[in-house]
């Protein structure tokens, strides 16, 4: 488990630097989410 963590942790650190240098958002759940106006209280504007 220690060896596995050493390897995966090192890879994650390397990937972190790579992502930072290339402007890559690794987790971007709202990247394609619609952004329609909701209005106060979350009511949809017709």
């Amino acid at each position: 488990m220690v060896r596995f963590y050493f390897v995966t942790g090192s890879l994650l650190c390397a990937f972190f630097v790579y992502a930072g240098m290339n402007g890559l958002k690794v987790v971007d759940p709202f990247a394609v989410a619609a952004s329609r106006p909701l209005g106060p209280g979350g009511h949809y504007h017709k």
Binding site: V2, Y5, L38
Partner: protein, 446 residues
């Protein structure tokens, strides 16, 4: 270390056949074999289980007709020889002891090597410890060796032992021969300290205080050493069982700290060196409470081979909203990055007082956009305005903004295995200390 604490390491002498002495049991007349006359002081008759003083010329009976409704059977037969810690040992005695208050039983095997002396093998729920009596006293609070108030931590040979159990134990069953006048029912005060896989034990009766060290031995090693066909598998976690999960956690915890330190430094460096360059600062016109489609910005350049792009939208909203739908288009390849954004700002008062909601500015970040010439196609829409005038919004394209989300996500990814490791360490230690009177994993209120 157990096994050679007080005897220098010398070549293993050849094991000679003991000078066996035979005599009749003074109680039942059965034949008794004394394997080590001169060394043993008492022997148990295999027929009637009377304990006999072999140093008395008339073979005085120490305990007569000791009978158990259900005798205990030793897992290692008496007389069996085995090699442990590089030396050959013969099992000459077996006893079962118990904690007086809890009636918790365990077994002890007396081992003898005529050259190296006596050792003990203690078996508890399938777990084994190799015990050596020591002359050295540990350091710590030894004021009351009667075990009333021994310290919680004792130190011996630069190892710190934590108190695990203390109480009063008694001898419940014996067979074989022993180097003292063993008496069934005799009681002693005991205390056990642990620094897995090592153990430090103190035992006190009316006449003496005996200290001993122990070391955990796997049941497989015992099985192999004494050439046993069957041996029960250990159950639960023994007090001295090697702390594998703890050792693993110590290493993983160190790596965890290193990795977190690394990405923290990297994040500071990336934030400090990110270009944060405004590639486009566009001011567009929109209709209040209406739609304005097909606006196109002038072509602008995104520097750097690969980086992110942040688009910020600002509009003068006040109890109204502004929505922009657009696409970032590569002027050379035609690749598009669609996006949508809304700015809305509301305020008012209610029974709780004044309130506000939203903002007149909003931003989004598009990940990994190649460098080159780009432009924006924009459609706008708005509502909630009191008038239907034209108004101006502002849209800025910024190249290479620092990404802080990545830092938190990677910190989370890097924490998964350490959390599993910590959890299993905690589980292992809780299991180890479950049978202790000094369990640190139980709060005093429980």
């Amino acid at each position: 270390m157990a096994g050679n604490a007080d005897i220098p390491d010398v070549p293993n002498p050849p094991v000679t056949k003991p000078r066996v002495k035979m005599f009749a049991c003074p109680n039942c007349g059965g034949s008794i074999t004394l394997r080590y006359p001169g060394a043993s002081m008492s022997v148990v008759c295999e027929n009637c289980q009377s304990i006999i003083d072999v140093n008395d010329e008339n073979y005085k009976i120490l305990t007569k007709f000791f009978k158990q409704a259900k005798p205990f059977t030793p897992l290692i037969p008496l007389g069996q020889r085995g090699s442990l810690k590089g030396k050959t040992w013969e099992v000459i005695g077996f006893m079962v002891r118990s904690d007086v208050s809890s009636q918790y039983f365990w077994s002890e095997y007396l081992l003898l090597n005529p050259f190296y002396g006596y050792r003990w093998l203690v078996e508890d729920k399938g777990h084994w410890n190799f015990i050596t009596t020591i002359k050295k006293k540990p350091e710590g609070n030894l004021r009351v060796a009667g075990l009333g108030r021994l310290g919680e931590v004792l130190t011996l040979d630069e190892k710190r032992y934590k108190v695990f159990n203390s109480g009063r134990t008694q001898v419940d069953y014996v067979i074989g021969e022993f180097y003292w006048r063993v008496v069934v029912g005799s009681q002693t005060n005991t205390a056990d300290y642990i620094d897995p896989p090592l153990m430090l034990s103190c035992e006190k009766d009316e006449s003496e205080v005996v200290w001993s060290t122990g070391e955990y031995i796997s049941h497989k090693e015992i099985k192999k050493a004494f050439k046993l066909e069957k041996l029960p598998n250990p159950s639960g976690t023994a007090a001295t069982e090697p702390p594998r999960a703890k050792k693993s956690w110590e290493k993983i915890g160190m790596l965890w700290a290193l990795f977190l330190a690394f990405i923290t430094c990297a994040q500071i460096w990336l934030s400090g060196t990110s270009p944060y360059e405004v590639a486009c600062d566009y001011r567009g016109i929109y209709l209040q409470n209406g739609k304005q489609n097909d606006q196109t910005t002038p072509v602008f350049t995104l520097q750097k081979e690969m980086s992110n792009v942040q688009i910020t939208v600002h509009a003068p909203v006040s109890n109204s909203w502004f929505y922009v739908s657009g696409e970032l288009v590569n002027n050379t390849t035609g690749a598009t990055y669609p996006f949508e954004r809304t700015v809305e700002y509301y305020y008012g008062t209610d029974s709780d007082g004044a309130w506000t909601e939203g903002s007149s500015e909003s931003a989004l970040t598009i990940s990994s956009v190649p460098g080159g010439k780009y432009y924006l196609n924009l459609d706008t829409e708005s509502g909630g305005y009191a008038t239907n005038n034209k108004d101006q919004y502002n849209l800025r394209v910024i190249r290479g903004v620092p990404l802080y989300d990545n830092y938190f996500w990677f910190a989370l990814f890097l924490s998964v295995i350490p959390l599993i490791s910590w959890s299993s360490m905690r589980k292992e230690e809780a299991s180890r200390w479950a049978n202790s009177d000094f369990n640190p994993y139980v709060s005093s209120s429980e």
